[in-house]
């Protein structure tokens, strides 16, 4: 730790000093706002009531970019991003609309140091923060209204995670870096909290449709109003897509075909990304009570590259998710206590609607006429009660206390297969037979299990000197399966100058082992280990926030982390099987630079650059995550009511993990344009027209590295969509 601190310190101070000098040399231009207020104060009241103004509610992405943004995610209390004791980003509904995106997954690339990769498992989005990469992406905690969306089975967001509609998102708050001292498990590499729209965020009715390449259609309806004293917000969305279907040149079966001289592989063939989705959202609130519910149903969900990395165009999943919470928040519970209680419930179900194929017909010398197929169904339920309170009775301290209880279970597992062992006979299932039920036997892919946990945390924000604030927090978690863990955080925030904030941050976080890692008994290459300990990360950060002018903000963050007890599936003696072990470790460091600039009244720019270098326990590059990435977004009012948004995303080269013999994966640049006609008055149509990946760059995300037999199943990686278009129409009632 000492050497690590040393390493971060000299570099950071040097860079910090350079940054300070470079930025302060910029100077202060004339203050438009002061001039405007001076002018208005010169008028009398009668004249003031005749002044024409630009309304606050107006779609003003230029001002929005440099307006003070507040986050709640850092400590639980609302703070400006500049002062929050964490490195945070806020994405507003206005940002989302300007970018012309329709799903959460397309929004997050704008966050410095966050890259959206794809899972080899199911092509679902992986939110890779600062080089902390894994196929399940279990190291980043995604919350919807503060509630973790996390599957017990793999630690991911469910087998059919397809994001959520952007239309219901009011804002997204992101922490890069650890958050376990507040959020507990899995707030490891970062936290993403999605806050859905309430009545005030919709206020009225909006209907919209969107058409996109790849036979993608979507329709939605949003409504927000007051009914009998209750604030009500509702949203419905239905959509269907064929998916981009980019070519997978070779798959796992191709590799087996080479070995066994067969010709069974369905590659080259398209990646199967088709699905239909239905989303419903409800939010009812009154006084100190709020009830929210989100329901998602996915059907005809394609198997992407196939569950064993062998293309499977016929297999289909259906998935359902329900998350709901009842929240009581009373700012004035007593004179000095601000109290919140949240009861939440998450249910996720996945089922194969058409049996999925592990290997196609013709594999294994043609022994299986329908291929090796399987039917599975799995349901999870998660219930949480969280209580927290702020105490403001001390003059220079703001104390927060919290406690909570969690119960989660995989409550239903159904598994049928036409291969493996028949539990009724104990004999191998002969090729060519029907699907045999292996549920509730040692041959099911996961046993039905549960987990209980409770926690206690305390946090103090101490204003110990003018312009100096110390945040200290500690959280204790006790788990029924792996025991207890204690996670501290410290943050020192210094208002160096009125326009410049410096922060020094330290935090520890943990990731709870997933049930697949603990209890899997039937998968020979991924055997569970009930003795696993949680993964741990220690992070140090140095952050600077500089408001150079009202129209130009900059931020620089430097970080260093050490991740240990990383869970890997390690080959057992003989090499035929692999068992989960706390075997890995990784260290990394890097920086992020961001600037937000309102260039003119009609143009703004957001740009960021991120660098990270991460190394494994043997000092090899940790692989898969880009070392360099840069993002640029400009918004421009080209003509009254006509907005042009440009996004350029550059993702640098991705190195391979050490065991992977392939050359590094090339970087790519995508350019997205959105032209929008927006008239904010009610009773008007708004249109948007956009192109994605304008120059049709061959963008790819890394596929999984070699298997225990040294085979790279998908050698040419996971292709992303080429150039495509969309058209969107909205009507406000």
């Amino acid at each position: 730790m000492k050497t690590l601190l040393k390493q971060i310190s000299w570099r950071s101070y040097l860079l910090g000093a350079v940054f300070l000098v470079a930025t302060t040399a910029y100077g202060t231009p004339l203050d438009e706002e002061e001039a405007m207020i001076e002018y208005l104060q010169g008028l009398d009241f009668e004249d003031l009531t005749e002044v024409e103004v630009t309304l606050d509610e107006v779609f003003d992405v230029f001002d929005g970019l440099v307006k003070k943004r507040t986050v709640k995610v850092a400590t639980g209390v609302e703070q400006s991003t500049a002062h929050a004791p964490a490195v945070t980003t806020v994405i507003t509904a206005q940002d989302i609309e300007a970018m012309g995106v329709n799903n959460l997954n397309q929004v997050l690339e704008m966050v410095p140091g966050l890259h959206v990769a794809r899972s080899s498992e199911n092509y679902s989005s992986l939110y890779i923060i600062r080089g902390v990469y894994s196929d399940a992406n279990a190291q980043v905690l995604l919350l919807i209204n503060g509630m973790p969306i996390k599957a017990l089975f793999a630690g991911n967001r469910g087998m059919t995670w397809a994001g959520m509609p952007a239309n219901v998102i009011a804002r997204i708050e992101i922490i890069r870096g650890p958050g376990s001292a507040v959020y507990g498990a899995d707030a490891f590499g970062g936290v993403i909290n999605v806050i859905t729209k309430s009545k005030d965020d919709i206020d009225g009715t909006e209907a919209g449709i969107r058409m996109e390449s790849f036979d993608t259609q979507e329709a939605w309806l949003l409504h927000g109003d007051n009914w009998a004293g209750f604030d009500v917000a509702m949203a419905l969305e239905y959509g269907s897509t064929d998916g981009h279907g980019a070519q997978i040149e070779a798959d796992a079966q191709t590799q087996f075909d080479h070995i066994f001289g067969t010709q069974a592989s369905l590659a080259p063939g398209p990646v199967n990304l088709q699905h239909d989705h239905f989303d419903a959202h409800l939010d009812i609130s009154r006084d100190v009570w709020q009830w929210r519910a989100d329901y998602q149903k996915l059907s005809d969900f394609g198997t992407a590259v196939g569950i064993t990395q062998a293309l499977d165009p016929s297999g289909k999943y259906a998935g359902e998710r329900l998350n709901t919470d009842l929240t009581y928040h009373n700012l004035d519970f007593t004179e000095n206590w601000d109290v919140t209680a949240q009861l939440s419930y998450l249910a996720m179900t996945i089922e194969t609607s058409t049996p999925i194929g592990l290997f196609p017909p013709g594999a294994f010398g043609g022994a299986y006429p329908y291929g090796q197929i399987s039917y599975l169904k799995m349901s999870e339920r998660h219930t949480r009660l969280d209580l927290s309170a702020f105490y403001s009775g001390f003059k220079k301290h703001d104390i927060r206390l919290g406690t909570g209880y969690y119960y989660g279970e995989i409550n239903e597992v159904v598994s049928r297969a036409n291969y493996g062992i028949n539990p009724a006979t104990g004999q191998a299932i002969p090729p060519g037979t029907e699907l045999i039920d292996v549920s509730d036997s040692p041959y099911a892919f996961i046993p039905e299990k549960d987990r209980k946990s409770w926690y206690l945390f305390v946090q103090d924000v101490w204003l110990f000197a003018p312009n100096w604030e110390l945040t200290a927090g500690l959280r204790y978690d006790e788990y029924s399966d792996f025991g207890s863990t204690l996670n501290p955080r410290f943050a020192l925030v210094w208002d160096t100058r009125p326009d410049f904030t410096s922060k020094f941050l330290y935090g520890r976080a943990f990731r709870a082992p997933a049930f697949g890692e603990l209890y899997s008994i039937s998968n020979p290459v991924a055997l569970g280990n009930p003795d696993l300990e949680p993964e741990i990360i220690d992070s140090w950060e140095l952050a600077f926030d500089y408001r150079a002018t009202d129209n130009l903000h900059m931020a620089l963050n430097l970080f260093s982390y050490k991740w240990y007890d990383a869970i890997h599936f390690v080959a057992n003696p003989g090499g035929q099987t692999r068992t989960a072990q706390n075997a890995g470790s990784q260290t990394g460091h890097g920086l992020e630079f961001e600037t937000r600039w309102k260039m003119t009244k009609k143009a703004s720019l957001l740009a960021n650059y991120a660098y990270q270098e991460s190394r494994d326990e043997e000092d090899h590059d940790a692989g898969n995550a880009p070392q360099h990435q840069a993002y640029l977004r400009t918004d421009w009012l080209v003509y009254p009511n006509w907005y042009l948004d440009t996004q350029i995303n550059w993702v640098g080269k991705r190195h391979r993990i050490f065991a992977d013999p392939r050359a590094s994966l090339d970087g790519y640049t995508t350019v997205d344009l959105t032209l929008r006609r927006k008239d904010i008055r009610k009773g008007h149509w708004n249109f948007a027209l956009g192109v994605r990946n304008l120059f049709d760059d061959d963008a790819r995300e890394p596929s999984r590295g070699p298997t225990s037999r040294g085979i790279v199943s998908i050698p040419n990686d996971l292709p992303l969509a080429g150039r495509h278009f969309f058209l969107e129409m909205r009507y406000q009632f």
């Binding site: 706002e33 002061e34 405007m36 207020i37 001076e38 002018y39 208005l40 104060q41 009241f45 009668e46 003031l48 009531t49 005749e50 002044v51 024409e52 103004v53 630009t54 309304l55 606050d56 001002d63 307006k67 507040t70 609302e78 005030d200 604030d231 609130s285 009154r286 006084d287 100190v288 700012l331 004035d332 004179e335 601000d338 403001s392 009202d550 260039m599 003119t600 009244k601 009609k602 143009a603 703004s604 720019l605 740009a607 070392q627 360099h628 840069a630 640029l632 400009t634 421009w636 009254p640 440009t646 350029i648 550059w650 640098g652 080269k653 090339d666 970087g667 640049t669 350019v671 120059f695």
Partner: protein
């Protein structure tokens, strides 16, 4: 770093920044923002309201302008207050406080209740009744619900309703000039 692969990115970036900066900013007439005008109104109200002496602990106690909840003002209100204080030769100076809790209302002379406080507006008004505080908001139905001044927009202009009776109940005396420009609600 592989600079070569970054070249297209840099080129397009440069192009866009240049277009953004050099693009003609037609219609760049100076239109104030709604929140800027409201900030000027809020500070201006102090000229037209008479507080009882009991509302101030000392002869030089400032008029405290409180903002409850998530507000739209940015720096505008602080600028308006600073400028008012600078120009003031006589009378009480102003100060701004951004507050979150009801108990903090006790120290306010003007209370701006942000939209974010809609759900607890009745509690806020009940609490404010015990003090010499002018309640202002842009929430719909604020005056009907017992508030004193409510901003509303007509076209692109900011106007306000006032209920003199609720002011007088709190021992606040509005000047005739204020009532003349306001829409009076009884």
């Amino acid at each position: 770093m592989n600079i070569l692969s970054m070249r297209p990115f840099l080129a397009i970036t440069l192009l866009i920044v240049l277009t953004g900066i050099t693009s003609p900013s037609y219609g760049a007439s100076k239109t104030p923002r709604e929140y800027q005008l409201k900030a000027v109104f809020l500070t201006g109200f102090t000229k037209f309201i008479e507080w009882p002496n009991a509302a101030f602990s000392k002869a030089n106690t400032r008029i405290t302008l409180c903002v409850l909840g998530k507000h739209p003002f940015g720096r505008a209100l602080n600028i308006a207050v600073d400028r008012t204080n600078k120009r003031k030769r006589k009378g009480r100076r102003l100060k701004v406080r951004y507050i979150k809790k009801l108990k903090q209302i006790a120290a306010c002379h003007i209370l701006y209740v942000s939209q974010s406080e809609r759900r607890r507006r009745s509690a806020v008004l009940r609490y404010a009744q015990h003090y010499y505080v002018l309640t202002v908001s842009d929430m719909k139905h604020f005056v009907e619900n017992g508030g004193m001044i409510q901003f509303y927009t007509q076209g692109n202009k900011v106007r306000f309703f006032i209920n003199p009776k609720t002011l007088r109940n709190a021992d606040l005396e509005p000047h005739g000039n204020l009532l003349r420009v306001a829409d009076i609600v009884r």
